[in-house]
Symmetry: D2
Subunit: 342 residues, 4 copies
């Protein structure tokens, strides 16, 4: 009953097998391996975009930070939801990589920005000319930190606002596959067809060992990306091991299969939790949820071996953060629900 995080799971056996295969013999280092060439081609197919620039890094934090750095300036305002991962959980990595850009929180229920709130936030910035930071870019997280999802149309609506001011748009897709599965959108629908310029396309949380792709639909910034990645110590010498993971991840739609499973387990868990009378803080739309229980319930679950994070909620109540992953089993979910029902 391990619902702490999808990054507490290991890698899918096919990913591991690919790493083992990739280990044979010598390979060119620093991204010049043959597998990477195939990964680039496959990512372009997945996104239906033959010119996308594709790079691999080992964490979501650096994927996001580099995506922000190449599309902003040190004096830029970067608009994102108040609770976005880049704003709250990366120890200032975006500020480090952008040399000091300023994140502007946009509020919104259930982890989602609304077009109006975004427009107001962007509008306010820049009114003081040279005295203030300048309108820079927008970052949208999907699946959100609240476990909700934006549809492709909702993403497009936010991008439309951003483009009134010609701002580049980033999609933080640490759980990109879960968002696609939840909404039925294609990778293209959710990104460049909605106007997104750069995506952090997550692999780690969804069955890889540690790999994220950064996909840029305008390849003009590719060289700058390579320099920034190297300068940050994120260009792996034995890069083939990143490539191999991502190739296996995409092959035969393994990535979508794993997300489909994780979301299904999420739905089973969410439904059961609600049936047991708990209030969900946010609609549970993918593989993460935040139900509230009294302390006694938490103690009972913990005593039974359930693992997850807790955080203060309404008086007398604590919220749980429950995350399902590619290898969560029905049995685990059902055992949890059984303990919950008492």
């Amino acid at each position: 009953m391990y619902f702490t995080s999808d990054n507490a799971s290991g890698a899918h056996p096919k990913v591991l097998a690919a790493i083992t295969r990739a280990n044979d013999g010598f390979a060119r280092s620093y991204g010049a391996d043959e597998i990477m060439a195939r990964v680039t081609a496959r990512v372009r197919e997945v996104f239906e975009h033959p010119e996308a620039a594709v790079y691999l890094v080992s964490t979501g934090t650096v994927a996001n930070s580099l995506a922000l750095a190449i599309h902003s300036k040190p004096w830029s305002a970067v608009f994102a939801h108040t609770e976005a991962h880049i704003a709250t959980d990366e120890c200032g990595a975006p500020e480090f990589y952008t040399d000091g850009a300023k994140l502007i929180g946009v509020a919104g229920d259930h982890g989602k920005m609304t077009p109006d709130a975004l427009a107001q936030a962007i509008g306010r910035i820049g009114e003081v000319g040279v005295h203030g930071v300048q309108r820079g870019m927008v970052s949208i997280t999907n699946v959100t930190e609240a476990g909700t999802v934006y549809t492709a149309a909702e993403v497009a609506d936010l991008v439309t606002v951003a483009k009134r001011w010609d701002l580049p748009c980033h999609l933080d897709g640490a759980r990109f596959a879960n968002a696609l599965v939840a909404t039925g959108a294609t990778a293209a629908d959710m990104t460049w067809k909605a106007g997104i310029d750069v995506v952090s396309f997550g692999g780690t949380k969804n069955g890889c060992m540690g790999v994220e792709a950064v996909v840029m639909f305008d390849p003009a910034k590719a060289w700058e990306f390579e320099l920034r990645r190297k300068r940050a110590g994120h260009l792996l010498s034995k890069h083939r091991f990143l490539s191999a993971q991502f190739e296996a991840y995409l092959e035969g739609d393994l990535w979508l299969d794993m997300a489909t499973h994780a979301n299904a387990m999420g739905a089973r868990l969410a439904t059961g939790v609600a049936a047991a009378g708990a209030r969900h803080q946010h609609p549970a739309q993918a593989n993460m949820m935040f139900p509230e229980w009294a302390m006694g319930t938490h103690q009972r679950l913990e005593a039974a071996g359930a693992a997850y994070y807790q955080m203060p909620a309404s008086p007398g109540m604590e919220a749980a953060r429950l995350v399902t992953s590619w290898n969560t089993t029905e049995a685990e979910v059902d055992q949890f629900l059984s303990v919950l029902r008492g």
Copy 2:
């Protein structure tokens, strides 16, 4: 006949097996995995230093850069050999991580600084008070970029110079195991017993997939290290896969065995190359060498399938950079020498 780099080799089967074992089940993320606790204990044993702080990252560039960042200030001078990796091959990563510290090149034959040259370089800095950068720290690379090694006593001599000004000292040990094997020094001799404050202890080039340890003998800076690592996107969520590599690397002295082999292959190759009449630019003391040949010889080697880097040398001559690794075979070396002899 692949002598391009030791990072063109894959991982040792035992390292791969450890990764596979580590994949089972759930594990705490972000460095709180159980394997990491064992790695820390084992590294402390290897260094005979029960209080050392030990962290894992995935590249040598970031290991070096973080080691520099926590021991310097943005206005520091960092003294290193003119040809040090941090000065020439990391795209300014040290400047990025230190927020602008200044590398001061110290010249010296065969990739090695002399105590006198270091003393002069340090002495010159700081003469202009607030107008100049300030004496900051010293970084020593062992094995050097020239394929030579410092003995532990030579390291201690350089540190003695640095300590006249109380400067912290870093050892860039991307090929640390090869340096120990080449000199017969223990890990302790080569580092803290010689006065070194922080080590980049390489794994990747010597049979791992992608892992380097940073070992700090004064644990006071441990928390700052953790913050800087996270902020750089170098704290892996599925950290167990770094831990597993390093545990296997150290177990049963696999790391020393692999370096012993790589150095032995280096010696066999160097001897054969010299016997065939080539001049070595630098003494070949570990697993890397720089012999010079006329272009015709290079063409013959290349035609026979030998892979390595070439660089301009004396008129009419080009130098080769040949690197042997944990999985270089005697047969490969002998075949290369046979082609060379024509």
Copy 3:
């Protein structure tokens, strides 16, 4: 009728005379001039603090930014009112100087943080360990951006909150003299006696040409300040001209006299404006106020030659920002009020 800003005024004749006097002959450069030694002594007297470190720079932005930089880390959270000058009007200078620290806005009516709101903001930060920015420091602006003032006791209450977490506290005193005059506090009461660690002590807005002092009550960081100032290009070679201004500013309490006058003109204007029926957005407690008028009134004032900034307020209304200064005359104020009354 020029109420645009106190920085639209020139320098007091005594300040100008001091500059002229200082121009004679040669003087040691870069802060080693004799006048500076007297300024340091005099500032220490004014603050009743014999060990304070005292430095001069030419703008408030850099005074604030350096004060923040020497008391924080790149991964620090800096707590300040949502509308603080450092947060909204310095084009990200704090982020530039701190290498990426994160400003956390603390809301509060009339430009003032409350101890509770500050405590909540500080409490929230740091809950996610290494994943989030760390509690860093607090910055308090007095006079606030809303034209209100904190009493020395109110400053002490905020500092008390900050010190629960051992956070250094900065006072942005761009209008420090106006705050002292408005509250009757001494310089010592308002700063180190209230627990403040570093002050930006403004001169420019209050009758100087361009000079601000940074006063640090713990001189341990003095050398770091000097290095950061130089590195930022803010160490003036002909520094005597900064020193001369500040010496004249402090001599015979000219600084307090000028602030007394500016505040008196502010009170006369605020009273008249209220008597004419306008609503003040914030209590007018020093030399700045924000009354609201219908557009017709603004047009009438402008037509009569009044100069000030306008900003959107409640429907149908626009707020004026009116600032009085050391050389605002009663006649000017009365003329303005006369036009206003129509």
Copy 4:
């Protein structure tokens, strides 16, 4: 007998008078003052370039640093003479402002780079692709740190080298007027007609209080310059006092008259010093020279009241750095020479 530095002199009376005049009444702040509009027009006339962007700042360090920052990237190599002020005397300000660019020293006799040495330095950089810093820009100091000057043709020759790689070129003209007077070149000849992209046009050392112009011949980067200047705290609110200085500086060619005088005093001093038997370390071509004397001579000069910097030279000898300025008198020079002759 004050030959310490040209920044130990005060301001010319006309500059001071201009400041006094500018003090009257209210003026728009932050560079929107009317005097600045006239300064821009006049600088364009002086440079015969109707589109140049012109900005004022208060120190040479920030003028240089901003000029570098807007023409480089954090991963750029900036080529400059090994002894350039930006490399040795600005406490890493260029690294701070560029977010970590790397200064590459180009050696050359008497403070001057040769085209060949520059070409070699540029050629070497960039050979390692993404692993090394990238060719960025060139900075040329004129008058050099050695007191020598480049003719306009020599500047053009260096620029021609830089333009083989399309690199932007900066002229550090802290003593720009002295260089023009020494060579007879016009401002246009020495800069954009020679291919220079951006100039630090010094005022402070040559009779101003504290003002330098940055002149960019491609105005496309003007807005970025304004943002970077503000963000650095270098946009003065009472900017009129910078404008007034520079207007007076340019009016009636005061700037050239003062440099003519300083250079003439330099020549008188240099000739006398040589006649007295001293060796000049470098040809004395403007207002700065480095003669060598035995310690006894230095002591005699010091005893007689001469002030200047000393630095170690050949065995038994110390070099003096002697700088003349706009207000050095013939009497002073002759008195010094008289003491020297003994």
